[in-house]
Amino acid sequence: MTNFLKWWQTVKISWVKHTAYRLNFFLQIIGPSLVFFFVKYNLWTSIFEQSATKVIQGYTLDQMLSYHAWAFIISLVAQGHGSWNLSEDIRLGRISSYLIYPFNFWEFHTASFISFQGIQILIAGVTLLFFSYISIISSFSFEVLLTGFTFTLLVSIFWFLTQYFTGLLAFWLEETWILRVMLQIVSVFLSGAIIPLELYPEWFVKILNFTPFPYLSYYPIQIMMGRDVSLVSGVVIICSWIVGLIFINKFIWRRGLRLYTAAGM
């Protein structure tokens, strides 16, 4: 019970912190995804206009737009969180306070992630309603939505752990943001966030399926669009990555802490 209270209070405080600078939050988190969505919207609309056929790799224009609308919504929940402050906290010695409190650093960040997800889910929900209202997203069943949402949450845990991992590298590296930008760019291409994976060579997608990338966007989109995907293998692969990352993060945290100098304390 006392443990739950610690977590709950941290989630509440993080919520207040996340929403303290509302405009900043919007510009930093929602803004880029929104711009990205409109770029893709225009891009695909003009590709279809130029194209002789009405169908590209099984996608009509409407389906393609609906694909990207789902990509937008899913990215809010799955890839919204970035542990931006984590590496800076380490580099500037700000984690010292967390090392002293009887509540662990990872617990604090996980609670902060949970509250962040609360906000993101709310925003994703509103966006979904809006997209269905203007009919970019056509009908979906509650069951499909629930499955897709649960899968996306699982993916978001994976993404959180990946961000945490890159953040922890600050124990060794002076700057980790470049790593995160690289990861972001690679994942945008390989997750199907710009181009559906059907447009990639088949052998390439086969390899890709063992990496976590397709599960960041392509898989959840397929689930949401009611298409046939192997849910079990998706869950197994993402869960394996999650378990692997937990071990790796634990290991590098322990190693990193031995190097930690608490600069300026």
């Binding site: 709950w8 405080i13 303290a20 090392l99 002293i100 009887p102 930690y260 608490a262 304390m265």
Partner: protein
């Protein structure tokens, strides 16, 4: 280790390794391929025993290793070698029970969450430290009254002045009634009144709870007011460990005595000869170094025979000792060789 020893340090060492980097882009590229490690020994074979209820002043110039010691004591950094035990725990293992028994206040770094009112941070800490509701309320009301911060509890921390924030930082770190408190420059950057407030608060808190306190500060007034025992660290090594009145005499038992006169005096006069006089430009005031046993006689003599308008003995003898030692660290070596 006897039962009332709270901190036990033996042959403690901490070595930091950093890499040399030349300035500019070329330097960055170079250091990417060839890294020249620089080893720095921050703490070297340090020994210390502290008993329950003591207030220790940990002194030393910048870069002497004070903060590194504090970081090791609180489990923030891991010692390279040696023994360190606090309340029977090894700090670097960061046992949750250990963390519940200590507190750290850093004058240079805020521990309160910047974007929320202090009271929200306190509530969070209440949950972290599992403080019962009644105790929590009692401590908040008691401390906020003494520190006169009742009206500040619900204001965003980022909007407070440094002095106000420091008081709240102190409160935050004492809410869980810690057994050992580490104060790292708690009065840095504060005005004189705020410094004194903080000092008085710490004094009162210590008297009431009997906790053990380790304090570092560059303000000798802090040390003089709070500490009975001083530990001096220089170049990572212990230079002095003992009662404050002994530290004052570390360079001999001389006191500084100063006089101001209404008329110009003769600096060459016989009376000043043995006391290393330092005169001002107009020869109207002088500072003397006088052996303690001659202090009374000399003062009387000067007061009776010369037109004295003001006289004083130094207020903070440890400040002079500290300054002399910092400028001439070799004095300490000579002393320990004696």
């Amino acid at each position: 280790m006897s039962s009332d020893t709270v901190i036990n340090v033996s042959q403690l060492c901490k070595k930091f390794v950093s890499f040399k980097k030349e300035p500019g882009i070329v330097g960055s590229l170079k250091s990417f391929f060839v890294r020249n490690p620089i080893e720095k020994i921050a703490v070297n074979n340090f020994e210390l025993k502290i008993k329950k209820g003591e207030i220790i002043g940990l002194l030393g110039p910048n870069g002497a290793g004070k903060t590194t010691l504090m970081k090791m004591f609180t489990g923030i950094v891991v010692p390279t070698s040696g023994e360190l035990s606090i309340l029977g725990y090894q700090p670097w293992q960061r046992d949750k029970q250990f963390r519940k028994k200590i507190a750290l206040v850093m004058g240079q770094k805020s521990q309160l969450w910047w974007d929320i009112p202090a009271m929200d941070s306190f509530t969070l800490l209440q949950k972290y430290y599992e403080i019962p509701e009644d105790k929590f309320n009692e401590r908040i009301s008691h401390m906020s009254e003494i520190l006169e911060v009742k009206d500040l509890l619900h204001i965003h921390v980022r909007k407070l002045s440094l002095g106000e924030r420091m008081k709240l930082e102190l409160m935050a770190s004492l809410l869980h009634d810690p057994d050992v408190i580490f104060l790292d420059e708690p009065t840095i950057g504060l005005d004189l009144v705020a410094q004194e407030n903080i000092r008085n608060f710490i004094k009162e808190y210590h008297a009431r709870t009997g906790c053990t306190i380790i304090i570092t500060s560059h303000y000798m007034a802090d040390v003089q007011a709070l500490c009975e025992r001083l530990v001096l660290i220089m170049g990572g090594k212990k230079g002095f460990d003992g009662p404050i009145h002994e530290f004052e005499k570390v360079l001999g038992n001389e006191k500084t005595l100063s006089f101001s006169f209404s008329t110009e005096q003769n600096p060459e006069a016989e009376i000043w000869k043995n006391y290393y006089p330092e005169w001002d430009e107009k020869n109207r005031s002088v500072e003397l170094r006088v052996p303690e046993e001659e202090l009374r006689d000399l003062s009387m003599k000067v007061l009776q025979n010369l037109p004295v308008t003001d006289f004083a003995t130094e207020k903070l003898p440890i400040e002079r000792v500290m300054k002399t030692l910092m400028e001439n660290p070799e004095l300490l070596k000579e002393r320990s060789n004696d």
